[in-house]
């Protein structure tokens, strides 16, 4: 029984990464209608920016939590301005192909210079060590990841669903021409939204740098799972992706305990089941 609690908690930790990443994807899909396959590569860039800040400029983990998402967010906005905006209104497939190509290029460039085995990034001193919860030894850093990403997720949900800015955004998605008529700069808002989604990916990258290796392909592995999360949660649904992210982390954790060989396929089995029963995802509305 104790082991079970431990696995649940570990699942929650992985779930926080899924939630942060799928949230970014959901924001981008919901607001821009772009299936952002470059998300994993941007997540990886977040971790690399943290690594460079530390090793080249001596800037530690805490400032990196802010600087890396902004830096990668700006990179994302440049991508949106120079490339993605031309695809607005076209079939989803075009955006998917473009971002997929971008992901391959970005990963290829990083791999060319840094190889594939990764670079070390250690846990900040303040969060080193762990505490004994009775049923398991919880590394403080992992506890921090869960709490921090939960706050970020809920904050983003609040921003989009409950503030005036969020209302503009949702309105701009629904009917850009009308919102523009009210004197709101819709293209700029879309660029900023893409920057926000990308920033969330980079933030997840910084959070994961001390746990996983900082390596060029770190995003490639996680992005497919995250897409499954988004599909299960319902494309574009903000709350859906947050809840599904955490939930699937837990389910995956339990699978690792009961039948580890299936741990990297269980998410896809669930995806198939959900698509069969409810094609719009658990919280999605029919288009």
């Amino acid at each position: 029984m104790q082991a079970l609690y431990a696995q649940l908690l570990v699942g929650l930790i992985n779930g926080s990464f899924y939630a942060l990443l799928s949230l970014g994807l959901a924001v981008i899909f919901g607001m821009l209608n772009i299936i952002n396959f470059a998300h994993g590569a941007l997540y990886m860039m977040g971790a690399f920016v943290a690594y460079f800040l530390l090793n080249v400029m001596g800037i530690g983990y805490w400032p990196a939590l802010i600087i890396a998402p902004i830096a990668v967010g700006i990179f994302g906005m440049i991508l949106e301005r120079t490339m993605l905006q031309w695809l607005a209104g076209l079939d989803h497939l075009y955006g998917l192909l473009l971002t997929f190509g971008l992901a391959l290029i970005i990963q290829g460039v990083f791999q060319n210079y840094f190889g594939s085995s990764g670079l070390p990034y250690s846990i900040p001193d303040e969060l080193k060590g762990g505490m004994n919860l009775g049923f398991m030894f919880l590394p403080i850093y992992r506890g921090w990841v869960v709490i921090f990403s939960l706050i970020v997720c809920l904050g983003t949900w609040y921003l989009i669903e409950r503030t005036r800015l969020g209302a503009y955004l949702r309105a701009a998605t629904e009917n850009p021409a009308l919102v523009r008529a009210f004197g709101i700069n819709v293209p700029r808002m879309i660029t900023l939204t893409y920057g926000l989604g990308v920033g969330l990916a980079a933030l997840a990258g910084v959070l994961s740098a001390p746990i996983n290796q900082v390596r060029p392909l770190m995003g490639e592995n996680v992005i497919i799972v995250v897409f499954a999360v988004v599909v299960i949660g319902g494309m574009g649904s903000i709350m859906g992706s947050i809840v599904t992210g955490f939930a699937l982390g837990v389910i995956e954790g339990l699978t690792k305990y009961f039948y580890p060989e299936a741990s990297n396929t269980v998410v896809f089995v669930l995806m198939v089941l959900v698509l069969l029963v409810k094609p719009t995802g658990l919280t999605g509305r029919a288009a």
Partner: protein, 406 residues
């Protein structure tokens, strides 16, 4: 008229002679470097192995003797079907003579069959499974650098003898992990220890916390990592996070490469014991080679044991070809010649190739240095013991290779 006939006859004779001459002295070789070029094993083999092959060609001196040697490389993506498809194409279309490297035991075993079928030469450096020279041995195969039997009988044995008598395995769920777990279990049991549990994880796993918790609660003294590359580095890094080593359990990194230590960082990796058959900083010859090698690598990395194995395996292959006086394009014949000559090269020293294809040379027990002991960017290991080749590798009497039972 007469002179014309004589000239004609003479010309024909000359051309026949020269054709025969060319046949006996076919001096063309095509090398295929098959590896994981972009995945989790790319740094320990990959482009570095192709470079090692290139350097072997340059250092062999054969080009000066009129040989024409080409190298092509391929990416098997850690998938046996892709690996075998490339190997088939290389033999059928590209007329490759020898395939080198091939990390990932699953791919390596699949390719082994193709090479036997096509009568090519296989100098495997990257794969670990001891099956290549045991149950699945082939007259076309030389397994150069290391294998699971050697890892189990060096690192594994040393740990059991030091009191680590209960083991829990974290095993990569494919041919390699299974072979390493099997060989290590045999050593643990033979030395009076026992295996209390284990978990099989998918290849290329990012998060090991679930598995590590299971290992932790097993209370085993030793957690044996029967995995490699990125899987091993993640296991070790996350084990530190979960306080596993501080809690009194010891990690056995059964297979650890130079690039893995770099990725983990000395802070976390210090004190780990493991075995390799090559380290760049062993002696003047290895240092000289590594310096040349690193200068040509994009990230300035010195060679890993696998890349060094590609180099010295090919050096020996070229010696055999040189002794044959030409390339017969007959895999079995060339491998027989290789087995008949003792191996001796600057990187692995003196050794021999056994009749089952296993190359025998010394293995070295290393310990990862403390950050304060490291004097340079790749100064990671300190030598703590040497095991002679006959102690480290499968004794012929124990080998299950069918070729030995003629």
């Amino acid at each position: 008229m007469k002179t014309r006939t004589i000239a004609l006859l003479l010309g024909t004779a000359l051309s026949v002679a020269s054709a025969g001459f060319a046949f006996a002295q076919d001096k063309t070789v095509k090398i295929g470097a098959l590896s994981d070029q972009s995945g989790l094993y790319a740094d320990l083999g990959g482009p570095g192995s192709t470079l090692a092959a290139q350097m072997a060609v340059e250092d062999s001196g054969l080009t000066a003797k009129g040989w024409k040697i080409d190298i092509i490389s391929g990416d098997h993506q850690n998938k046996p079907d892709i690996g075998t498809a490339i190997a088939r194409q290389w033999f059928d279309v590209d007329k490759v003579d020898v395939i080198v490297d091939v990390p990932n035991s699953g791919v390596a075993l699949a390719v082994n069959n193709i090479i036997k079928e096509k009568n090519g030469v296989y100098i495997n450096s990257g794969a670990a499974t001891s099956d290549l020279t045991n149950a699945q041995c082939s007259p076309n195969t030389v397994h150069w650098t290391y294998d699971t039997y050697m890892l189990a009988h060096t690192t594994g044995q040393a740990l059991v003898k030091a009191g680590g008598d209960t083991w829990f395995f974290l095993t990569a769920d494919y041919a390699f992990g299974a072979a390493l777990e099997r060989d290590t279990t045999a050593v643990v049991l033979a030395n009076g220890g026992k295996v209390v549990g284990g978990v099989k994880h998918p290849l290329n796993t990012a998060d090991f916390s679930s598995f590590l918790l299971q290992a932790q609660s097993s209370k085993a003294k030793i957690i044996g990592l029967a995995n490699a590359g990125g899987d091993t580095t993640n296991s070790i890094k996350q084990a530190a996070e979960f306080g596993i080593v501080k809690g009194g359990q010891k990690l056995a990194a059964l297979l650890l490469f130079l690039t893995d230590v770099k990725a983990i960082g000395l802070e976390t990796a210090q004190g780990l014991n493991f075995t390799e058959t090559f380290y760049w900083d062993m002696n003047d010859q290895t240092r000289a080679f590594s310096k040349k090698f690193a200068a040509r690598m994009k990230n300035g990395a010195p060679p890993t044991m696998v890349q060094a194995g590609v180099y010295s395996g090919l050096i020996h292959y070229f010696k055999a070809l040189d002794a044959l006086g030409g390339n017969p394009h007959d895999g079995v014949k060339v491998v027989e010649k290789m087995k008949s000559m003792p191996t001796n090269d600057p990187l692995f020293g003196k050794g021999e190739i056994q009749p089952n294809g296993r190359t025998i040379h010394s293995a070295y027990l290393f310990e990862v240095k403390k950050p304060s002991e490291s004097k340079g960017p790749w100064d990671f290991y300190k030598l703590i013991g040497t095991v002679s080749g006959d102690q480290a590798f499968t004794p012929l009497a124990e080998s299950k290779c069918a070729m030995l039972k003629k």
